[in-house]
C-alpha cells in the first residue's frame, strides 16, 4: 500500500534520488501578462543637487579658515541653489501626488502613468 502511494505521487523536487531532468516542463501558474499599474520605484530622483556649489563653498572655507563672512557670495550661491532645488522638488511632489495630467508632457510620473492606465486599460 505504502509502495503504491509513493509511486503515484509526482517526482519530488527535494529528493536527490530523483533529480529534476532537463528539459523542465513549463507550468503556467499566473497568466502571462503585464500588471495594469507601474510601480513608483524608478521615480526617485538621483540628481546630485548643489554638489558644485558645495565644493566651491568648501574651497572658500578652507582658504579663509572657516570664516563665513569671507565667503558671502559662495554661501549665497549654495543656499539659493538648495532653495531652488527644494522648491522644484516640492512642486514635483505636489503634482505627482495629485496625478494631474498636463497635456504635451514628455516625462510622466508613476502616478500620472497609473492615471492614464486606469483611464485606458490595456486590451488583451
Amino acid at each position: 500500500m505504502r509502495l503504491n502511494y509513493t509511486l503515484l505521487a509526482g517526482p519530488s523536487q527535494k529528493s536527490a534520488r530523483r533529480p529534476q531532468r532537463e528539459p523542465v516542463p513549463f507550468k503556467q501558474l499566473l497568466p502571462l501578462e503585464l500588471k495594469k499599474t507601474v510601480s513608483g520605484k524608478g521615480d526617485k530622483l538621483k540628481e546630485a543637487a548643489c554638489m558644485q556649489e558645495m565644493a566651491v563653498m568648501f574651497a572658500c572655507f578652507k582658504k579663509s579658515e572657516f570664516d563665513q563672512s569671507a565667503c558671502l557670495k559662495e554661501v549665497a550661491a549654495f543656499q539659493g541653489c538648495f532653495k531652488d532645488y527644494s522648491e522644484r522638488m516640492n512642486a514635483q511632489r505636489e503634482q505627482g501626488k495629485k496625478g494631474i495630467l498636463v497635456p504635451g508632457e514628455q516625462k510622466l510620473t508613476h502616478r500620472q502613468l497609473n492615471q492614464l492606465l486606469k483611464a485606458f486599460p490595456p486590451k488583451k
Binding site: A48, A49, M54, F66, S69, Y85
Partner: protein, 238 residues
C-alpha cells in the same frame, strides 16, 4: 492685571475669591470656548499680523479666505509692534513644563542684561564713531546672534556596504534655525551654578552676535567636519 483684580475684588467683596478668579480671567481674555479645544482641520490658522493682512489684501486672496472658518488667535499671537515671531519661538524653546511666564521673564531679563551691557559699553566709548557702532537694541542682537549661529550644512548618517558614513549635505531653513537656538541654549546651560540663566544667555547672545564664542565655534566645527567628509557627498544620491 494683578492690580485690576485687586480693584475688582474690592468692588465685589461678598464673593469668595476662589469662585471669582476663574471668571475674571475668562472675561479678561474674552474666550468663548474652554481652554483645551481642538478645531477641525478645515479651520484656518489666524492671520493676526497687520503686514500679513496687508499682503493678503494686496494679492486679493482675502476674499477667498474671508468665508472660511478661522481659529481664534492664541494669547501670545498679537498685532502689537513689540511682537516678534523669533522671540516667541525662543521663549517656547526656553520653556520647561509649560511654564511660559517664567520662560518669558527669563528671556526678558536676558534682554535687559544685554541692554545694560551695551549701554555701559556705549558710555565707555570715547569717539562718536565708536558709539555709533554699538548696537543697543537687544532684539536686533538676538536676530544677529541667531543668524550667525545658523549652520549651513548638516551631516547625515548613510549606510553603505555595512559602514555608516557621515555624509555632508544642505540643511533646511527650519532645521538650521532649530539648531541655532538649541546650540545657544545648550551653551547657556553649560555654566557655573552661581551664574544665573539671564546673565549667561546675555553673554552667549552678545558673543554670537559678535561672531565669537562657544556657539560659533560649534558651528565652525560642524563645517570643518563636513569639509573633511566631503568625499562621501556623492553617497547622498545613490
Amino acid at each position: 492685571m494683578a492690580n485690576n483684580m485687586r480693584i475688582l475684588n474690592k468692588c465685589i467683596p461678598w464673593y469668595p475669591s476662589s469662585y471669582l478668579l476663574p471668571r475674571i480671567s475668562g472675561v479678561l481674555q474674552s474666550r468663548e470656548y474652554s481652554r483645551p479645544t481642538s478645531f477641525p482641520d478645515y479651520f484656518q490658522n489666524p492671520i493676526f499680523r497687520k503686514e500679513d493682512q496687508a499682503k493678503l489684501i494686496e494679492s486679493s486672496e482675502l476674499t477667498k479666505i474671508a468665508a472660511l472658518p478661522m481659529k481664534p488667535p492664541a494669547v501670545y499671537e498679537t498685532s502689537s509692534v513689540y511682537h516678534d515671531p523669533l522671540v516667541n519661538k525662543l521663549i517656547n524653546h526656553v520653556m520647561e513644563m509649560g511654564k511660559k511666564q517664567l520662560a518669558r521673564s527669563l528671556v526678558e531679563k536676558s534682554f535687559e542684561n544685554i541692554k545694560r551691557a551695551q549701554i555701559e559699553r556705549y558710555h565707555l566709548a570715547s569717539t562718536p564713531e565708536a558709539k555709533a557702532k554699538i548696537e543697543l537694541d537687544p532684539k536686533k542682537i538676538l536676530h544677529k546672534a541667531i543668524e550667525n549661529a545658523k549652520p549651513l550644512l548638516q551631516l547625515q548618517p548613510i549606510k553603505r556596504g555595512g559602514i555608516t558614513y557621515q555624509v555632508p549635505g544642505p540643511i533646511t531653513e527650519k532645521r538650521s534655525l532649530f539648531l541655532a537656538i538649541k546650540w545657544l541654549l545648550e551653551a547657556t546651560y553649560e555654566k557655573e551654578r552661581t551664574v544665573h540663566f539671564p546673565k549667561q544667555f546675555a553673554w552667549e547672545l552678545l558673543d554670537a552676535a559678535n561672531n565669537t564664542g562657544k556657539v560659533i565655534k560649534r558651528k565652525q566645527d560642524l563645517h570643518r567636519l563636513c569639509e573633511a567628509n566631503r568625499a562621501y557627498a556623492h553617497y547622498r544620491w545613490q
